[in-house]
Amino acid sequence: MPQLLTNKRLILLLLGVILLVALISFSLRDRDNVSLPEQIIKDAVGAGQSVFSRPAHFVTGIFDNVDSLLNTFEENQHLKTRLEEFAGVQAEVKDLRSENEELKKIVGKEEDLRDFNPIQATVIARNPDQWEEKLILNRGANQGVKPNMAVMTASGLIGKVTLTTPTTSTVELISTLNPNYRVSAMVVGGAKDVYGLIEGYDAERHELLLKRIDANIELKKGDQVISSGLGGIFPKGVLIGTITEVTIDEFGLTKLAYVKPAADFSLLNHVIIADRLMPEVDGEDNGVTGDDES
């Protein structure tokens, strides 16, 4: 009965498509934690992946070394000019730091939004199809990594942790198009600190968007943007980038600044996960704001 066979196949195909759509929509929901089978697969693949990523990091390390070797002369010239300036700045920083500590002691304030417990991690894989900006690190819940923690390199903020399993964690880079991705930030350099939100990424300019700045506040090109710590999860003072252009946003009510990220998102190797010492609360940094919560 060939007719029955084709019908059977058709039903199977339909069932398959339904299952597929259901699975995809299930996994596209915003999930806080991964299910057990997923955790097992992630841990197993992560273990294999770290074996393979070690020689790769060795090779990229060589490339980096050769690259920096080629630029040695120019860099040296540049650094020499900065060196004298640096000595002065360092003395000033030391002075300010001790003064700050003294003042804190006087006021009796011990905790600071800036303090965090660094967790060193190695990038074991980058999402190979590169549609979503994701990294996978070799540290997980066992080492104290929790979702929404800030992830940075020595040069600046790169993203935040979205999912954790016992031994791996997934990081969503700050250059994502995800509309729920917000980092509460502040602009330093002016007379007063200016607060805003990093919200969105301009893929053509390769720059971040700093939104919700009061229209009356003047911002300059070249001002530095750091995380403010007021979003509830990130520590304060992590460098995000520098402002390249200031415009009015699409509604004309607040200002919008383009921020060139300080960290380089390609060829990432070693990163630091910031575990903030202050208690963490729900806020902008994990995409939960008052109006969403209800």
């Binding site: 995809i24 697969i41 294999g48 990523s53 790769a56 190979p128 199809d129 549609w131 198009l177 390609s266």
Partner: protein, 176 residues
């Protein structure tokens, strides 16, 4: 030869993809070029052509699932597309002459189709806002060039490995 050679090759290629992915995006002349390594699917297409469809689809399903869970957190995307591509390869290969050149060309055509389907999917769920022109110049071309270099270098090795495995299997069947 080793009995588990084919799954072993699949596993190695699977782990190699993100390692090569670490080199991307390449900055050439101020323009970011995304190179997506697609070693596994190319090997699976070769497996379909020279071994058999059933094995290739099974490996496609298995590794597609691993890929979905570990890298992209969208379950069902690659685990559907890998076997579907194998199926398409088997259907297409019936109509064209069988040799290494046509196999390579067919693989590359299917790979371009595969990339395009993924682009359409991510556009649909708005994970990307990349216009079609940008997609073709900064993603499709670099990816196709890099992967065709890989395939031209290793395609004949794939073929010879698969063919020896196949003849060994046939011999065994003959024995019993």
């Amino acid at each position: 030869m080793i009995r588990f050679l084919i799954p072993l090759i699949c596993l190695v290629l699977f782990f190699m993809e993100p390692v090569f992915g670490l080199f991307s995006p390449l900055n050439i002349g101020g323009e970011l070029n995304y190179i997506v390594p697609r070693f596994l699917i190319m090997f699976l297409i070769f497996l379909t052509l020279y071994y058999d469809l059933k094995h290739a689809m099974f490996y496609g399903l298995f590794f597609g699932l691993l890929y979905d869970v570990f890298y992209i957190d969208i379950i069902g995307l690659y685990s559907f597309l890998y076997p579907a591509t194998c199926l398409a390869a088997a259907a297409a290969f019936k109509r064209i002459p069988r040799n290494l050149l046509t196999a390579t060309l067919l693989t590359l055509v299917l790979l371009a189709l595969f990339e395009f389907l993924l682009y359409q999917f991510f556009l649909l769920i708005s994970f990307t806002g990349m216009p079609l022109g940008t997609f073709i110049t900064t993603r499709l071309w670099p990816t196709m060039i890099a992967n065709s270099i890989f395939l031209v270098m290793l395609g004949w090795i794939f073929k010879s490995v698969i063919v020896t495995q196949l003849s060994e299997r046939d011999n065994k069947i003959g024995l019993y």
